[in-house]
């Protein structure tokens, strides 16, 4: 064997020690999964400080909403957390219903819960499988996408669109769920558990995954609360706050489900909490579907509340009857004045408490509408979670927080 000669680069003393590198992660970067920026100061691979810049896709939704009647705002909410648009849509409709004092029938509540829990699953499965991508396991992500497709097909059957759904109406749904919709739901409920089990097996006890995620980006329960964390990220830190349990809406009180919590608030706990929440969501959907099937006769046909001033008339009537056409126009253009009032309503979105603060001065559009966007609020904690750690861990922390650019910027 020949002797191996190693060549050392001779650098002058003091030229590399204590030097730091500035690294821009984002605004467009494969690791951010959205348009936002991190300016990181690195010492080798260690993060010394980081500053986030957001606002690259700010679309002035709150200003736009001041000129839009209620139904035209639903499409804005689609574009907040676009991984779970139906929750945003229904959160908005529930806010309007609270302002208008609309009582929804039980069947509507249960149908809504089916849709909201489906979108929670689609939200969480993206987040968890993307964590896999960022730790080097692409397969799980590609595989599980087929099952998100099944969810999107259900949306399609109900409202005609897939990603930005604009699903539902004030008081219920635009039409009853078709048999095909229920068949697709059954197919999903039958096939998804096995796939989720496989995804879980791929990661949960996977040595590489555990080493990459355990202990990275931890946050204590006290800090998480002070930072306004909600949703899976807060629960991973050990606080069992869930809007569905604390302020039940849409008859969540009729359902039996657990709120999974973690202990250390690290990336691994966030993964586990989201994973368990998907199982809980499946259980809720099963319960809701069962309850929906129990409605018989005329009750089984109910898919909206009786609010003629806000619920759009049937499409076939709009095309054939003058009165329906007039009402359709009046509702869409906001010719019906809202009652005066100040309402705050929140739902458990994919990322936590999604709140709508609506002030109405009795006009056709909101006087002021503010969205409480969970991503925007908890992203502040990011430096505290990653400083002192490795750059590669910071990337995983970012994906485990499930930051959605649309929700950051509104």
């Amino acid at each position: 064997m020949t002797e191996h000669h190693q060549h050392h680069i001779k650098l002058p003393e003091g030229s590399i020690e204590k030097q730091t590198t500035t690294l821009n992660v984002g605004p467009t970067h494969p690791a951010t999964h959205g348009v936002f920026q991190n300016i990181m100061e690195l010492d080798g691979e260690q993060i010394i400080s980081t500053e986030q810049t957001v606002g690259y896709i700010h679309r002035a939704f709150e200003k736009l909403a001041e000129r839009r009647p209620l139904y035209q705002i639903t499409t804005l909410t689609d574009r907040l957390n676009y991984c779970s648009s139906p929750i945003n849509n229904m959160g908005w409709h529930l806010t309007c219903e609270k302002l208008l004092g609309v009582q929804t029938p039980k069947r509507v509540d249960y149908l809504r819960i089916i849709i909201m829990e489906l979108s929670r699953i689609s939200d969480h499965l993206i987040c968890n499988s993307i964590m896999g991508v960022d730790t080097g396991a692409y397969t799980g992500f590609m595989y599980i996408m087929q099952y998100r497709e099944l969810i999107y097909e259900i949306y399609e059957e109900i409202c005609g669109s897939r990603l930005t759904t604009n699903i539902g109406r004030i008081g219920g749904f635009e039409r009853n769920f078709t048999n095909t919709a229920f068949e697709k739901l059954e197919k999903f409920l039958k096939e998804y558990p096995a796939a989720l089990r496989e995804l879980e097996n791929l990661f949960t006890r996977n040595r590489i995954f555990m080493e990459r995620t355990k202990g990275t980006g931890p946050i204590s329960a006290a800090r998480a609360l002070n930072y306004g964390f909600t949703g899976p990220n807060l629960r991973a830190a050990g606080v069992d706050y869930d809007v569905r349990v604390h302020s039940p809406y849409s008859s969540y009180e009729d359902f039996d489900f657990k709120v999974p919590v973690g202990t250390t608030g690290d990336s691994y706990d966030r993964f586990l909490v989201r994973n368990e929440e998907m199982w809980q969501s499946l259980s809720i959907i099963n319960q809701a579907y069962q309850k929906v099937q129990e409605f018989k006769g005329a009750e089984a046909e109910v898919f909206h509340a009786d609010v003629p001033a806000y619920y759009l008339p049937k499409k076939e009537d709009v095309y054939t009857k003058m009165e329906a056409l007039i009402w359709h126009f009046k509702i869409v253009m906001g010719e019906v004045d809202m009652p005066k009032g100040e309402v705050y309503h929140s739902v458990e979105g994919g990322n936590g408490e999604l709140g709508f603060y609506l002030i109405s001065d009795g006009g056709r559009t909101p006087f002021r509408l503010h969205f409480r966007r969970p991503s925007f609020i908890y992203y502040q904690a990011y430096p505290e979670m990653v400083v002192g750690g490795m750059l590669s861990d910071a990337i995983v922390v970012m994906s485990s927080l499930n930051l959605i650019a649309g929700e950051l910027d509104a």
Binding site: V54, G55, H58, A60, E62, K63, L64, E66, R67, K98, L99, R223, L225, N226, Y227, G228, V239, Y241, H246, S247, M333, G341, E342, V343, Y344, S346, E353, G355, Y357, I359, F367, R368, H370, R372, F376, I377, Y379, Q380, A381, D409, A410
Partner: protein, 168 residues
């Protein structure tokens, strides 16, 4: 003992007297108003007192009321007592000429960005905030776009007939 709205109101009026007012309960949420320079004291009191325990800041935003002279801007805090599961809403009014409000970012880390957002859109000057700069809009912007004086569309446009669009 469950935390009632009457109890919160009683404790606040005991401590702050006339500086807290307009107690209402629209849609079941206790809402009240505090004097402009008292916002931080009220927040701290609600945070510290063991029987009140409002330690979670759900939301912080502002509203512009151009028709209320001297009270054009309102900063609105939504607080949550997670143990008792009670929400309250605190509003602090300020005039638009000197929109100085004490920052809550020392008390709640979550207030940091929410105050920056509120500054960005309404120009509320959060006194004591460490990094009060724009967050969603471009740094060069020299106005506060969510104030009502800025209409949504460019009013000088002549290619759109307002009457045709039902906006006359």
């Amino acid at each position: 003992m469950a935390l009632t709205q009457e109890h919160i109101q009683l404790r606040l009026t005991e401590k702050f007297g006339d500086l807290v007012s307009n107690f209402e309960s629209p849609y079941g949420m206790l809402s009240f108003e505090a004097a402009k320079d008292q916002n931080l004291k009220v927040l701290q009191f609600l945070y510290d007192e063991a029987d009140l325990d409002f330690q979670f800041l759900t939301d912080l935003t502002a509203v512009n009321y151009p028709d209320k002279p001297g009270r054009e801007l309102a900063v609105v805090y939504h607080l949550h007592n997670l143990k008792e599961n009670v929400r309250i809403r605190l509003t602090v009014y300020t005039d638009i000429a000197t929109p100085d409000i004490f920052t809550a970012s020392k008390l709640f880390s979550s207030a940091n960005w929410m105050e920056r957002e509120t500054y960005d859109f309404f120009g509320i000057n959060f006194v004591g905030h460490e990094n009060l700069k724009r967050i969603l809009n471009v740094d060069e912007m020299d106005y506060f776009p969510l104030r009502k004086e800025y209409p949504l569309e460019d009013q000088t446009r002549i290619d759109k007939d307002d009457q045709m669009f039902g906006r006359g």
